[in-house]
Structures are given as C-alpha cells and as structure tokens.
C-alpha cells in the first residue's frame, strides 16, 4: 500500500481489495440498500413492542434487537459477497443451491412446523428457512445455464436450467410453500424471457404456468381461501387485511407520529409481513411513498446497469436478482394495500426474519458483485468514468 493510500483511505490510487471494491461497486445501489437496512432497524423499534405485546413476549424490543443483529449481519454478508468475481459468484451460488436443496430434502424428515407448513430447520433456538437462500442461487445458476446453452458448445443449458428449477419447485410444493413457488417461477420466467426464449414458446409456457396456478387453487385449501377472500371480502374473514387497511388509513398523509401508532397493535404479523402497514400508520403516506420509491430505485437502477453490461450471463443473472428483490417488494406492498390476495411474503430488509434478511443480503451482494465495474464488463460507450482517470 502506498503512503497516500494510508493517509486517504479509498483514494483512487488505493489498489488494496477494499479500495478496489469501493471504486468499482455501484455506490448508489449500495447506498440505497444500506438505507433500507437502517430503515428496517428503525421501524422494528416501532413495530417490535406491538408485535411482542400481541405475542406475550416480555421484552418489548425482542424483535428490534434481533432485527438489528440480522440487519448488520445482512449488510456484512452483502459487502462480503459483493467483493466476489463473476466466477466466484457462480461457484458460491452452486454451493448455496446444493446446500439449500439438501436441507430442504432433510426438512421433509426433521422440519420445524410453523403455521401449518414445514419450512424451517430449527437448531439451537435458531430457525433457518433454506428456500430463502435457494432463490438467488437458482437465479444465478439458470442465467449461467441459459448463457452456456446459447454459446452452442454442446451444453444442454435449457434442460439443466429447467431441471434445477423443477427440483426446487417440487421441494417447495412438498412443504407446501406456494408463495416461494410463485416467486421463483416468476423470476425464473423473467430470466428465461430475458435470455432470449423464442416468442412462440412464451405462449405455451404461459399456458402451463396458468394451468399450474389454477391447479394450486384447487389442490391447496388455503390458497383457494385467500383468493376467495380477495374476490369476495364480504363473505370471508378479513381481520388481518382489515386491520392493516385501518392502520394505513389512520396514518393519512403524515402519519400519527413515531410511537403513536395504536391500530398497528391489532395487525397480526406487524413486525413481519405487515411492517409496511405499521410504518404507514406512524409515518404516513409521505414515508410510504419514499419507501416505495427506494425499492423502485434499487430495481430500476439495477436493471439499467444490467442492460448496459456485455456478458449475457452477467446481464441476465444481475437482472434476475433485481427482479427477485423487486417482485418481493412489489407483492408485499401490494398485499398491504389490498391490491392482490394475501400472501405471506416479507418486505426485503424491512420485515423481521433472520433467514429472509440474510438471504436478501446474499441476493443484493451477488447482484452488486455482478454489476461492479470490470474491464470489458460494460459496453464501451456506456462505461461510467473509466477507472484510472485521476491516477
């Protein structure tokens, strides 16, 4: 390290791994994500007492303390993963995929049942939901396979990608976890679409997806109940969504003020799936719009970066990861706003949940790693400030 680098950390001349990371990472995306993590921690201090009160947990900040730990852990994991090269990204994803699938198979025999589904592995007072980590890994792997398939070097990319996807879906439906199934199906479909699936195939695959959804409606009772509830609210028990609507409505434009929320205490899962409603009651529409804009910024900025990249694998993988984040944020907020049927889904970085937080750190870490500036990574006329300008 040079003398200058020691005096001015992150100087352009700094060639240490950390210095290189700082100058090659997309700092706008990094900044927006860090803001989300911090907001998640701050909001948890408002929502935690309400949730703890409902669940008869003595310590009102039970969830807030844990959210802080998970938030910091998630940010750490994200930074660490974002330092990887595309090659390392593929390898990491491969091992995460294998590991998650192995645990999901093990879950069939030793899983911890919560609210009627076996999704959790419990060890030492800590629960782990492997499917959360499987999602980003799967997206990276299928993007890779689509890219390999198009090289015409004899790799049956499409078949391998579909096999990876179908194994994951089979295990998810075994749990059963319809939400995750829909999520990865949509993200997988987006990747396949972006990678260049012929237009005439899209109709056929779309028909299969619709048929799959309809068969879910008829085979799984709770899916049917939720869709019915959305379509005919008068007939169904809509306690949760009613309370969420009341909380959002009570918040109005500027909210009741931090710590002033009362309706949120009636909202089940206010610390997880309905964190948005709790925040909307206390901080109002202004904050809600800021939160939506923040998620939109991350997704749009990420996609724009991906569009400008040159390598098909990196392009599709990065875009697929941002799709994963974006659709999860979209679905969660849309459920809170009663725009789509209730589906248990966490709001990235905001909702409480160790697995979901850490997995989001992994997802964005992988996305940031892929969108880093590297020689040749971006199309020449679109490259931003070629490195070494000021050296």
């Amino acid at each position: 390290m040079t003398e200058a680098a020691q005096r001015y950390p992150f100087a352009r001349t700094d060639r240490s791994p950390l210095g290189q990371w700082w100058w090659t990472i997309d700092r706008w995306l990094l900044g927006a994500t860090v803001i989300l993590v911090v907001l998640g921690i701050l909001l948890s201090f408002g929502n935690s007492p309400a949730a703890a009160g409902r669940m008869n947990i003595h310590d009102p900040f039970h969830f807030a303390v844990r959210q802080t730990i998970f938030g910091l852990g998630s940010a750490g994991l994200m930074v660490l993963v974002s330092m990887m090269t595309p090659r390392l990204v593929r390898r990491t994803s491969f091992f995460f995929y294998l590991g998650s699938i192995a645990i999901m198979i093990a879950l069939i025999f030793v899983g911890h049942e919560a609210k009627g589904a076996t999704r959790w592995l419990e060890f030492g007072g800590f629960t782990l939901q492997p499917s959360e980590f499987m999602k980003p890994a799967l997206i990276v792997l299928v993007a890779w396979m689509f890219a390999e398939g198009q090289k015409g070097e004899g790799v049956p990319g499409v078949s391998i990608a579909f096999t990876l996807y179908l194994v994951a879906v089979a295990l998810l439906l075994k749990q059963p976890d319809v939400g995750q199934t829909v999520l990865i199906t949509m993200a997988f479909g987006a990747c396949f679409f972006m990678a260049g699936v012929p237009i005439r195939w899209i109709l056929g695959l779309g028909a299969v997806a619709v048929a799959g959804l309809i068969s879910l409606y008829f085979t799984l009772d709770h899916v049917a109940a939720r869709v019915d509830k959305f379509l005919d609210p008068d007939r169904a028990d809509t306690t949760q969504i009613d309370h969420a609507q009341a909380a959002i409505s009570a918040g109005g434009l500027f909210g009741r003020g931090l710590g002033e929320g009362v309706l949120k205490r009636q909202v089940p899962d206010v610390h997880t799936d309905f964190a948005y409603s709790g925040a909307a009651e206390e901080l109002g529409l202004v904050f809600s719009l800021f939160l939506i804009a923040l998620f939109a910024f991350v997704v749009i900025r990420g996609m724009m970066r991906a569009i400008k990249m040159t390598d098909p694998f990196e392009q599709v993988a990065a875009a697929g990861l941002f799709v994963l984040v974006g659709q999860q944020a979209f679905i969660n907020i849309a459920v809170n706003l009663n725009m789509i049927p209730t589906k248990g889904m966490t709001l990235p970085f905001i909702s409480y949940g160790g697995s979901s937080m850490m997995a989001m750190g992994l997802t964005l870490g992988l996305a940031l790693a892929l969108t880093r500036k590297r020689p040749g990574a971006y199309a020449p006329h679109e490259a931003v400030a070629p490195s070494g300008t000021f050296s």
């Binding site: 719009l289 939506i292 997704v299 749009i300 098909p312 009663n338």
Partner: protein, 577 residues
C-alpha cells in the same frame, strides 16, 4: 413415430426424450441468430424494466388511495375506539361504549424539575405515585406509569402544564352508568376481549356488529334501578352477606333486570372477588320451600294428586336416617292447597313420595333443574342435582333441599309453570316474542292452578307481606327459607331467604306476566322487621316493593287500591320451615 395403440418401448422413449432436448436446445440457440430486435436481451430487459416501472407506479397510486381516499367502513374511520358495538337497554339507553382512553408516559429527559413533577402529579394520581414514578424520574427512559384513564383525567393532567409528560391513546370500554347492571353488562379485558356478562356472552356479535348500530339487551334500566335500590336496602336492613334479584318476562324469556350484591365497581375490578361474581347466574343455592312450586306442579300435572288430596301433617315424616318436621307443628290434615299456603314440608314430602321418584325425576329435568340454565351467559352454573331419585331424595327435593340450582334456573323453571306450561329459555337479548320452539312441560290447566295457588299464598298465606307492599297488581308468590348446609348438617340460623313472585296472576295466558325473584343470603333479624329472618319476613316485602315500583313501567295497571283479602283466619307469617 409410434405405432398407434402401442406403448413405445423404453429405448424409443429415451431416444425421443434426447432428441426433444436437443431440438429445444438448438431452437434456443438459434433464436439469437436471426438477430431480430424482439429477441435481443437488452430489448427484453427494457420490457421487464417497464413492467416494474408500471408496477411501482401502481403501488404509489395504491398507497395514496389507501392512506387518503379509502375509508372502507364507518367503524374503521372512527377507530381506535369502536371495535366493539355499543350496548343499550331495551329502550336504547346506553350501557357500554367504546371511547378512547389514555396512558400516561413520563420522559425524564424532558423534565427539568423532577421534584416538582413528583410533588404536583403525586396528589393528583395517588395510584401512579410511588416507587414506579420515582424510578422513572431517576432513570433516563420514557416509561408508562399510569393508565388507562378517560379524557377528563387527561385534561386535568394537561392543565398542570408539566413538561415531559405525554399520553398515548387507545381504545377503551366505558360504562357510563358505572356499576348499574354491572354483572349483566359484564366487562372487557384490556386487550379488548369480552369476559363476563353480555360483553363475554355476545363477544362475537358485539365485534361483528361494530359500526352497525348497538346491540340491544332485554334489560330495562328503570326496572333494574328499582330492583337494585330495593335489594340494596334489604341487604342493609338485614345485614345480609349477599343478595340476588331477578326480573323476567315469562312470556318471552327476557331478563329485564338482574342484580347481584355485593356489587362490583364501575371498572368491574372490585378487590373483593366475591363482588365480581354474578350470583344470579353462577351461584347455586338450595332454595328451600320455593321449590314447592316445582313439586306441586309436578304432582298436579302427573294426575296422581289433586288440590283436595289430604296429607297428615300432624306427625313428623320418618325416613331412614332423617325425620322431616314442620317449623310450626299443626295437628291433623292439610289438603294440597293448604300444604302450599302454609308451606308444610311434611305435606310436600308426603305428596312427592305418593307420586314417586320415577315421575318426579323427569319433571325436574323438564323444569330445567338438572342442567345449567340455557342462556347466552357463559357463567350460567350447572346445578348440583341428584342422580338417583331415592325415597330420601324425593322427600327432600319436594321442599328444595338436597338440590342446589342457580337463580336463573329457578326463574326459567317457575316461568315455565306460570306461563301456560311452556319452557321458554331465558335470554339477555331483546326479543319480540317467545322463540318459535318451546317445550310444553306442564298443561295449561296445571299452570292455571299454580297461578291461583301463588295468588292465594300472597293473599292468605306466607306471602302476605308482598301483597301488602304491592296492592292491586294481582301478585302471587312463594316464600323460601333454606338453612345453609354447613359442616355436613343444616345450620339453623344461617339462612337463604327468598321469595319467588309472579304478577299479574289473573290475566290470560299469552299475555305478558312477570317473574320477580328476591334471594337474600344470610340475613339477620332487623329491628324494623322482627322475627326469624325468613323468606316471608325478609324477601317477600322486598319483592312487593319492587313490583309496586316496576309494574307501571311494564304496563301493568293497578286495579284496586285495596287488596282483596280472603279471610281465612288461620294464615300465619313464617310458619314454614
């Protein structure tokens, strides 16, 4: 490729699968070769990006609509208070309402004169002062120290102008009438769950009906006030331990008033746990001679005895291990009419033995004396009823010993006998008439005979003091004086004195008749009403005074100011067991 109707052999399927895979792979690979813009990765990414832009724009619009425009229904707009419907009495007077209540928080970081805060706030809120306030003031964290309390208290604290004090509002249940009808109305736990009384019994309905008008109870506040007032006076006069009062409309089964003393506090949290119990529903009493209403109705309805059947009351009835006496020994014989109005235990027991347990058991079951009275209230107690109708059981239950039931069960059973024989389950909800299905438990003829017996007893028997207090309303009634079981025997001086009244007794069936039960637990002799504190001395005058006050509210008019006394000469007060 395959011969129709035949399953292709395995190698063929494998070949088909691999060729399909390679066809797919080549198609996919070739899709780029044509270089159409629609197949370009960038073009498709822009498409996905556009979908997301549209999606997040929709979210922004949806967020605006949810926060500003949508007021999904009335109760949501009026939250936080309003998750439970109001409770009103049958005339619409308010019994319970959701109003915001407040919690007091102290934030020591904002308080510059802690001694002042302690000095000023302490006297105003004695409950909040103490170690908790001191600890909070000494610390650094904002802590809730008191609450919930109503707006008025908040205003008083606000007017002190102290810094570092703030309030958090939440929904609270208010009872504007305080402890009036408190046991019937019930209460709501801090988390909004209805516990006892109507709040508990109708919890589901009260929640779902929130914002759609009040839940109307059968209760009549004017009747309730009269009942509570008279009952309270009786408890004081006789230094009683407890008392129960009930007024029902026996045609419809509606409970018009229900009182249990000692009463609970307006916040339903009396320190005396005994006061928080609604004894009208959840206590079980051996009623004593009031039960002769049931045994005589059973006897008459069975057809085995008539009002003229005579019984030897001059000699004690000797059973195995027990001898039944009357409190005032008479010589000779009583017919059933006299057994009732002189309240002869020997006579009632002999009559029951003549009819037999095989008939008595099913009748008592039909009168609802062997099961918890069917009513919305969860606290309706199961009786302690005999399982086997042996000779001793038959003799004792004929005059209300050896069987303990809730006052509600007595009200429902006596109501059935007096309203033409139809068992109408009681309700705390307003009803327009009797329910569609009622059980016929005795004949109309028996019912009429029993009404006449009740009337006769008020005119010339043990219930004369009730008639005296409520002249002109055609009151009928039966006294009861039960010795309380203690240490395996009956305590002669520890009584439960009661009076079960019915009015008016002379109107046709199908019109409104009212039942009044007064039950006084462990009354003592009073200077104003000397003599052994029996049902006739303690409870009958109270029932009379209650009837005298409530009859005008209930549309029962006084027909003659002077009671028609049927002179028989030998009727005496208190000659009952």
């Amino acid at each position: 490729m395959t011969v129709s109707g035949l399953t292709p052999p395995r190698p063929l399927a494998w070949r088909w699968l691999t060729s399909a895979i390679w066809w797919i792979e080549h198609e996919f690979e070739r899709s780029k070769a044509e270089n159409r813009p629609a197949d370009s990765v960038r073009f498709r990414m822009v498409f996905i990006l556009a979908v997301f832009v549209a999606g997040f724009s929709a979210l922004a619009l949806g967020a605006g609509r949810a926060a500003l425009v949508s007021k999904p229904s009335a109760w949501r707009a009026s939250l936080p208070a309003g998750s439970r419907a109001d409770l009103v009495d049958r005339h619409g007077d308010l019994l319970a309402i959701d109003l915001p209540v407040y919690n007091l928080y102290l934030d020591p970081a904002l308080i510059w004169d802690k001694a002042e805060t302690r000095r000023v706030l302490g006297p105003l809120l004695p409950a909040a002062a103490g170690p908790r306030m001191d600890e909070t003031l000494a610390g650094t964290k904002r802590v809730k120290i008191f609450g919930p309390f109503p707006q008025a208290v908040r205003d008083r604290i606000d007017s002190l102008g102290l810094p570092g004090i703030n309030f958090e509002a939440e929904a609270g249940r208010s009872y504007p009438l305080g402890s009036e009808a408190s046991h019937l109305v019930g209460y709501v736990r801090n988390d909004g769950m209805g516990m006892l009384g109507a709040e508990g019994a109708l919890d589901q309905q009260i929640r779902t009906q929130a914002g759609q008008g009040p839940v109307v109870l059968a209760l009549d506040l004017k009747v309730q006030a009269a009942l509570e007032g008279e009952l309270q006076a009786t408890v004081l006069r006789h230094s009683a331990k407890a008392a129960v009062g009930l007024v029902t409309n026996i045609r419809t089964g509606e409970i018009l008033a229900m009182a249990s003393l000692p009463d609970t506090t307006p916040d339903r949290l009396a320190s005396d746990m005994n006061a928080n119990v609604n004894k009208a529903a959840s206590a079980r009493y051996e009623m004593g001679s009031t039960f002769k209403i049931f045994s005589l109705a059973m006897g008459l309805d069975s057809g085995k005895v008539t009002l003229d059947t005579k019984y030897d009351v001059g000699n004690p009835l000797v059973l195995s291990g027990q001898t039944i006496h009357d409190s005032h020994s008479e010589s000779g014989f009583y017919n059933l009419h006299e057994v009732f109005i002189h309240s002869s235990n020997i006579g009632a027991a002999r009559m029951a033995l003549q009819v037999g347990g095989d008939i008595m058991g099913p009748y008592y079951e039909k009168f609802g004396l062997t099961r918890a009275a069917p009513i919305e209230l969860r606290e309706s107690a199961r009786p302690l009823a005999p399982k086997v109708w042996s000779t001793n059981v038959v003799a004792n239950t004929a005059f209300g010993h050896g069987i303990a039931v809730s006052p509600l069960a007595v009200a429902a059973g006596v109501g059935a006998i007096m309203n033409g024989g139809q068992y109408v389950p009681l309700t705390i909800l307003k009803r327009d008439g009797p329910p569609a299905t009622v059980r016929q438990v005795v004949s109309q003829d028996t019912s009429r005979k029993m009404l006449d017996l009740m009337r006769a007893n008020a005119v010339e028997g043990t219930g004369k003091s009730a008639e005296a207090a409520a002249p002109g309303f055609s009151v009928g009634g039966k006294t009861g004086t039960a010795e309380k079981p203690m240490n395996g025997t009956y305590a002669r001086e520890t009584l439960v004195s009661s009076f079960a009244a019915i009015f008016p007794t002379d109107t046709p069936f199908g019109t409104d008749k009212y039942f009044v039960l007064i039950l006084v637990d462990e009354p003592h002799t009073s200077a104003e009403a000397p003599g052994r504190p029996t049902g006739g001395i303690v409870a009958a005058p109270t029932a009379g005074r209650v009837i005298n006050r409530i009859a005008p509210f209930l549309g029962v008019s006084r027909r003659s100011a002077t009671p028609q006394v049927v002179a028989t000469g030998d009727a005496q007060d208190g000659n009952e067991r």
